[in-house]
Symmetry: C2
Subunit: 140 residues, 2 copies
């Protein structure tokens, strides 16, 4: 039973099809220890599935995000990158040196609840990037 089995089951249950392309991409995301750009996913994925095309990578990452299995991130370069959507968290990034700190979602919870009651919106699991200057870069 391969590691992406649980995720593909979710897709199945919701009426989506399981394809080799989706399997490979899920597998890669699940073993990545960083946010990956579509190009990085593509390079890695085609090692085991050479027929895979960039177009499909873009569409699959978008798809996985829509169904909640992945989430998009905006990093220093403002290029988008993706990761598996497991635990809720956010990022704080130094605009100067790129240093990143993770912000657990619990810190944001009160704000989210406030927004929900005030607007009537139902928030989804957001994955935000705050920017600022890290302690080191403030001195220079």
């Amino acid at each position: 039973m391969s590691c992406e089995e649980k995720a593909t089951q979710k897709l199945s249950e919701r009426g989506f099809r399981i394809t080799p392309q989706r399997r490979v991409i899920l597998h890669i995301l699940m073993h990545a220890n960083a946010h990956l750009t579509p190009t990085e996913v593509y390079e890695e994925a085609r090692k085991s599935l050479p027929s895979l095309r960039e177009t499909t990578v873009y569409r699959t990452l978008e798809f996985l995000t829509q169904v909640g299995l992945a989430q998009e991130a905006f990093s220093k370069t403002s290029k988008s990158a993706y990761e598996i959507s497991d635990y809720a968290h956010h990022h704080l990034i130094c605009r100067k040196c790129g240093k990143e700190v993770e912000i657990p979602h619990v810190k944001m919870k009160p704000l989210c609840e406030d927004i929900e009651t005030e607007t009537g919106f139902q928030l989804m699991q957001n994955h935000l990037s705050f920017f600022g200057l890290c302690p080191a870069c403030q001195k220079n």
Copy 2:
């Protein structure tokens, strides 16, 4: 005295040069009542400055963001768009129908201060997009 005068003065003071390209783009941003994509800025700007190129638009928007005169937004399409950075605010966007609600920054202030004391980072004026389902779309 044209409307973008105050902004260009700021640039001058900080040692940056005032160019027709920057003037036009600032002017457009200051009169826009929405977030504009680089292409939209380009189309509008070249009406009064036909020699302007896309490259310059991208670089100028990036530049204005760096110096704090503009800010980037990530909307439903995830394509980037820009607006003048006047008052601090954030966005809440319905993932289904695209409806947008503005969130005043004051709502976020306690969270930001919490993050600053905890991490030592000094936050810049962030311009975030929350996603969720609007009341109407929750029913369907």
